[in-house]
Amino acid sequence: MSTITLRRNLESETLHLPELKSMVGHSVEIVVRDSQPVPGFDADRSALLQTVDEMCQRCSQPGWDHADAESISPQTRTIARRLLELLPSDVPLPVVVPEPDGQINFEWYRAPRRLLTTSISNTGTLYWAALIDSEDPRGSCQFSEQFPPTLLYWIGLVCG
């Protein structure tokens, strides 16, 4: 299953999308999401990147939780920063917390049963779980220089 993500300014209800040529003849799902940038997003993102840096500095040694926590590695920090940099500007920023296994957690939250929680490992594996009322999807994906479309989908359902 392949996914193509496109961004356009809509000027009419008629679209010409040559990027879809390879999928002509396939059955596809079309989701259109209003992607007006969130006001102040870039400043908020810069502040959050700084928070990540400070948090990683604080958690750079084992036992940072006064117990047996593993340190947050420079690789984990780099991946977390990159994910934030790749986050589209119309998507709310997550709350970021450290975890004792050395992973960094991003949380998108609207209510106790409407959230996405994602843990970033030092290998680039992203472990995620969402609660959307009675639905409880979860899984993992590998970070590879684009913000994972699966996570964008669930963030949209949580925050949309």
């Binding site: 959230l115 929680t117 779980a129």
Partner: protein
């Protein structure tokens, strides 16, 4: 506290306390984050039974737990046993004698992190009312971050 010589099994409607020692495990709206119910290294999670204990006795146990980790007890979240017994999880009495006969464990967490996150999110969503702060002077926004 529970009489350790007559230790009853954990019943479905029993109220359990999960102690909060990290500010980033709670939100300003009175809810708690999944991290409060996320196991680490073990595939079980400590809780304390309210049964036969006063709120002050439970708080004292929490303060001891926090002190052992060089932390301050911020508060507790209460959850029913039946809310913990989902999918692979169950609750078993696990007294720590002589000090804490009310100790119990939530057991049966799977090893996969995404499965743990999913269960932890469900438990966090199932606490009874808001979390209870441990006296005056609760967390700051800096702690929460």
């Amino acid at each position: 506290m529970i009489d350790p010589s007559h230790l009853p099994p954990v019943e479905a409607d029993e109220l359990l306390a999960r102690f909060i020692v990290n500010g980033n495990e709670v939100r300003a709206d009175g809810t708690v984050r999944p991290q409060l119910f996320l196991p680490y290294k073990r595939v079980e999670l400590s809780v304390n039974r309210h049964r036969d204990a006063t709120v002050e006795e439970t708080a004292n146990i929490g303060r001891q737990v926090a002190a052992q980790r060089g932390k301050t007890l911020l508060g507790r979240a209460d959850i029913r046993t039946r809310s913990c017994c989902i999918q692979t999880l169950s609750v078993v009495a696990s007294p720590i004698l002589p000090d804490n006969p009310n100790h119990a464990d939530i057991v049966g967490y799977p090893a996969r992190k995404d499965e743990q996150l999913s269960l932890a999110a469900k438990l966090a969503a199932s606490i009874e009312s808001a979390w209870h702060a441990n006296g005056p002077g609760s967390i700051t926004s800096e702690d929460e971050r």
